[in-house]
């Protein structure tokens, strides 16, 4: 079925703006790939190039082994779900789902079969005779999904499909999308700016910034071994603490002092990152550690998020709710060297010590 290959795909707008630069990606059959990054990073442009809605400046795109770089969207055998849903307002849900099949001259009984199957799968049988204007956001989203499913395409493309839903519905639809993928075993390429969606949905995620690919990895890889400072800061529920530091003589110096000891050669100045959930907190100093004061405590129920003032910098750290820390308390921060992330201060790429 739907393998997708992008070979050095590049997009330059007539204004000279390079939206995507040299994008290489191999999407395996029935893989769920998420393109994630801040707005303007080129993720949507990449998706639209795969769909054929945006011409490719350089490079090649293949779908299911066929070069589709210059093929019209209708002949690429892809279906797309839009952020705005893009349901045809003058048609009811059934007509919306049938439309693509009718245009393709699919036999009538086949259309009826696919629509009723998809409607049952998505739980929208009751909505089939309704027009989009009378539906809620979540219902429209389902119909939009149904419209894509009945096409039985090689590849599903999603352009931020959950962004317009409220937080509760969003996490519900996230689970449903994941279930849908497990049932259909179809190739899906999904664009989002939300790293939680990326982590939970993707078999692999492509993290992009400024038109460039920062890292292509499984969610866990991206979390455990971010390839660059950008990825380190972008992936993770709590934003990673990233500050300049140095590694000299086995001593990792970060912020105001030695935070850990490592073995290995001297590295001089570099950028060091530590996730809040990996910050080791203690009330008394033992071995390495820097001293700070708890400035703000955010209680999230199961955990506390502490903002600790170390010198002039604020460090985020999470702690169990039962830890009993209080505002103004003096505290020592240290780290397990295995949890420290090192990056070159020039290229911002990951360094392994």
């Amino acid at each position: 079925m739907g393998k997708v290959t992008l070979e050095s795909v590049r997009k330059v707008y007539p204004s000279g703006f390079e939206a995507v630069s040299r994008f290489d990606l191999d999407v395996a059959d029935s893989e769920f790939i998420v393109l994630v990054g801040p707005s303007g990073c080129g993720k949507s442009t990449t998706l639209r190039m795969i769909a054929g809605l945006e011409p490719v400046t350089e490079g090649r795109i293949q779908i299911a082994g066929r070069d589709v770089t210059n093929v019209h969207p209708k002949d690429r055998d892809v279906a797309m779900v839009f952020q705005s849903y893009a349901l045809y307002p003058h048609m009811n849900a059934r007509a919306n789902m049938e439309f693509g099949l009718k245009i393709r001259k699919t036999p009538k009984d086949e259309i009826a079969r696919r629509v009723s199957e998809a409607a049952a799968l998505l739980g929208i049988v009751d909505l089939l005779d309704k027009k989009p204007a009378t539906m809620s956001g979540g219902q429209r989203q389902r119909v939009a999904l149904g419209r894509a499913i009945v096409r039985e395409p090689q590849v599903f493309l999603f352009d931020e499909p959950l962004s317009n839903l409220d937080a509760k519905l969003r996490s519900k639809m996230r689970v449903e999308l994941k279930r849908l993928h497990q049932r259909l075993r179809a190739t899906m390429i999904y664009v989002t700016h939300d790293q939680v969606e990326a982590m939970t949905l993707g078999d692999r995620i492509v993290i992009m910034s400024d038109g460039k690919v920062e890292q292509i990895a499984t969610p866990m890889e991206a979390y455990l071994k971010p390839a660059s400072v950008f990825v380190a800061g972008f992936i993770g529920r709590n934003k990673m603490n990233i500050f300049p530091g140095s590694v000299d003589g086995g001593s990792v110096r970060w912020l105001a002092g030695e935070i850990a000891k490592v073995e290995g050669p001297d590295r001089g100045n570099l950028v060091i990152g530590l996730r809040p959930e990996n910050v080791r907190l203690s009330r008394e100093q033992s071995g390495s550690g820097v001293n700070g004061t708890i400035d703000v405590i955010e209680e999230l129920g199961d955990e506390l998020v502490l903002s600790i003032l170390v010198g002039t910098e604020l460090i985020a750290a999470s702690a169990p709710a039962s830890s009993g820390f209080y505002r103004g308390e003096e505290i020592f921060i240290s780290a397990d060297p295995a949890h420290l992330h090192f990056f070159d201060s020039g290229t911002t790429k990951r360094l392994e010590l």
């Binding site: 639209r48 769909a51 054929g52 809605l53 019209h72 969207p73 209708k74 892809v78 279906a79 797309m80 839009f82 952020q83 705005s84 849903y85 893009a86 349901l87 045809y88 307002p89 003058h90 439309f99 693509g100 245009i103 393709r104 027009k131 989009p132 204007a133 009378t134 539906m135 956001g137 429209r140 419209r147 096409r151 317009n164």
Partner: protein, 272 residues
């Protein structure tokens, strides 16, 4: 309380000004010519509905009504086809000189009819369309094209781009998008154009009197004017029945279509 009374009386005065003449027209059209002259504001002694049948039988009105319907209908149809295609291209397609072309169309709105009355007269003679239905239909379409394009262009622009992209992926060609998606969605704009332009086509007199000589091709307004200027006395009851025949269809058309103008058809196309 006081303000609403003031409002009601103000609106009543306006309504009287608007509806008075119409009412007078319909009432008078049921009177004899003598009644109209002598007691212009009285009710008819006995309503003479035969004024209308006389208009058709003696006044040849069946012919004029047919001509008017044909010319107006063909002009509106042609206008909708041409202007919606043009507006679609000007709003949704990318090509060089697009903005200049749009500007050129809109400039047409500010040119008064009188300026091309004579040149067009000669043009029609040269190409042999003078004294045919086309001598009215083609200019009518051309005259209202700027207005129609202006309305539809704005409406097309308001439709979300995602709809077009979605239809493209669903398998539509550009023309398919126009027919299946865009045309049904600009119905309110089309209704607006139909009402406004059919009113102006139906009532149009200047061109109809210049470019049509043949009495058999005359439209209602032209026929009525020759009625009103007959040397051997004007038959007022026939004339007013004719004017009523001219007025009624447009009133009905307006009442039927007016609610379509404001209907929010795009609601629900995109979020919220």
């Amino acid at each position: 309380m006081k303000r609403s009374a003031l409002r009601i009386s103000f609106l009543s005065i306006l309504a009287t000004i608007m509806f008075g003449p119409l009412l007078w027209l319909f009432v008078s059209s049921l009177k004899t010519s003598d009644e109209i002259r002598e007691k212009p504001f009285a009710l008819p002694e006995t309503p003479r509905f035969e004024n209308y049948s006389n208009a058709f039988e003696q006044g040849n009105f069946d012919r004029y009504v047919f001509n008017s319907v044909l010319v107006t209908g063909a002009s509106v149809l042609g206008l909708i086809v041409v202007s919606s295609l043009a507006a679609f291209a000007l709003s949704r397609l990318e090509f060089r000189g697009k903005n200049f072309l749009l500007l050129l169309f809109l400039v047409g709105m500010v040119i008064p009819t009188q300026t091309y009355l004579l040149p067009l007269f000669h043009e029609l003679r040269i190409i042999g369309l003078f004294d045919t239905y086309f001598a009215l239909i083609l200019p009518y379409i051309a005259f209202e094209l700027p207005f129609a394009i202006y309305i539809m262009h704005a409406f097309f622009l308001s439709l979300p781009k995602d709809l077009e992209d979605s239809a493209r992926i669903d398998g539509c060609s550009t023309l398919g998008i126009y027919f299946h998606i865009m045309l049904p969605l600009i119905k309110p704009a089309i209704a607006t154009v139909i009402i406004v332009t059919s009113l102006s086509f139906w009532n149009e007199f200047l061109l109809a009197s210049w470019y049509i000589n043949d009495e058999d091709l005359a439209t209602l307004p032209r026929a009525l004017s020759s009625f009103a200027t007959r040397r051997h006395g004007v038959d007022y009851s026939l004339l007013l029945a004719g004017v009523s025949i001219l007025t009624l269809p447009m009133l009905v058309l307006y009442l039927v279509f007016q609610r379509h103008i404001i209907s929010g058809l795009t609601a629900g196309a995109v979020k919220g």
